[in-house]
């Protein structure tokens, strides 16, 4: 999957799309991590606007990126998550780790 990304001096935005499950999580993770490596952003913004399904594999994905950004003294922001996905995020307490817009 080639994810669309956008970066300025501080923020790396990754536009996620489609269904996020265990099957696809690894390749998404690798792509995001490559971008983080390249850009070294202060904030990683994950845009869920085009995500149609997510299970707890997506929670693992966000938590892992949070740990990574923390090592770079950065933060994670979650953007445009549809209601069904926010429900899974709330259940996981993700709002304590990431800023959910």
């Amino acid at each position: 999957m080639a994810l669309k990304t956008e970066s300025d001096a501080h923020i790396l935005t990754v536009f996620l799309e489609g269904e996020i499950d265990h099957h696809i999580a690894k390749s998404i993770r690798e792509e995001i991590d490559m971008s983080i490596e390249r850009v070294h952003p202060a904030t990683l913004a994950l845009d869920f606007g085009e995500v149609t399904f997510m299970d707890s594999s997506g929670i693992g994905l966000v938590m892992g990126r949070y740990r990574e950004m923390k090592q770079l003294n950065g933060s994670v922001t979650v953007k445009n998550a549809p209601a069904s996905i926010r429900k899974v995020m709330r259940l996981a307490g993700l709002d304590k780790l990431a800023h959910i817009e």
Binding site: E19, H23, F53, D55, L91, A92
Partner: protein, 148 residues
């Protein structure tokens, strides 16, 4: 009690089948005209159970996963997901929120928590060395009666 309708599918424990299982369940229960929220809850719970069988039950070896969906009166649906994988030694611990037997793998340890919160009932039967069966139930708000 006899179900009004029932379907069974069997598939390999390949991760590509996680989405197949979700779609198969969604297609079958479409006859009850579920709300988008109900559908999303059920698909998420099914995805968690099937992923558990693939990642933990069969530990990425290929085995069979058996999925049964039954529809009862008044919009009650019963979903069973069974594997013949390694089984769970301690079901109680496995079901604790954030517990994962694979901490390095970026698994959140929330599979059972999601199943429990998104469905009305969850029962897990497992025997070490023989496999695991997850049975989940949800009552749909009835907007249309199932054809019997």
């Amino acid at each position: 009690m006899k179900p009004l309708n029932e379907m069974k599918v069997q598939f390999f424990s390949r991760s590509v089948n996680e989405s197949f299982a979700r779609v198969a369940v969604a297609a079958f229960i479409a006859q009850l005209d579920p709300t988008l929220d109900e559908l999303s809850d059920i698909k998420t719970a099914v995805s968690e159970a099937v992923t558990n069988s693939i990642v933990h039950g069969y530990k990425d070896q290929i085995g069979n996963i058996y999925l049964t969906v039954k529809i009862y009166e008044n919009g009650r649906i019963n979903i069973a997901i069974r594997d013949r994988g390694c089984g769970i030694d301690d079901v109680k611990t496995a079901m604790e929120p954030m517990y994962t037997s694979k901490p390095g793998g970026e698994r959140a340890g929330l599979g059972f928590t999601v199943m429990q919160s998104f469905m009305d009932k969850l029962r897990v039967r497992s025997r070490s060395g023989y496999g695991t069966t997850v049975i989940m139930e949800k009552m749909l708000k009835m907007r249309k009666d199932a054809e019997s």
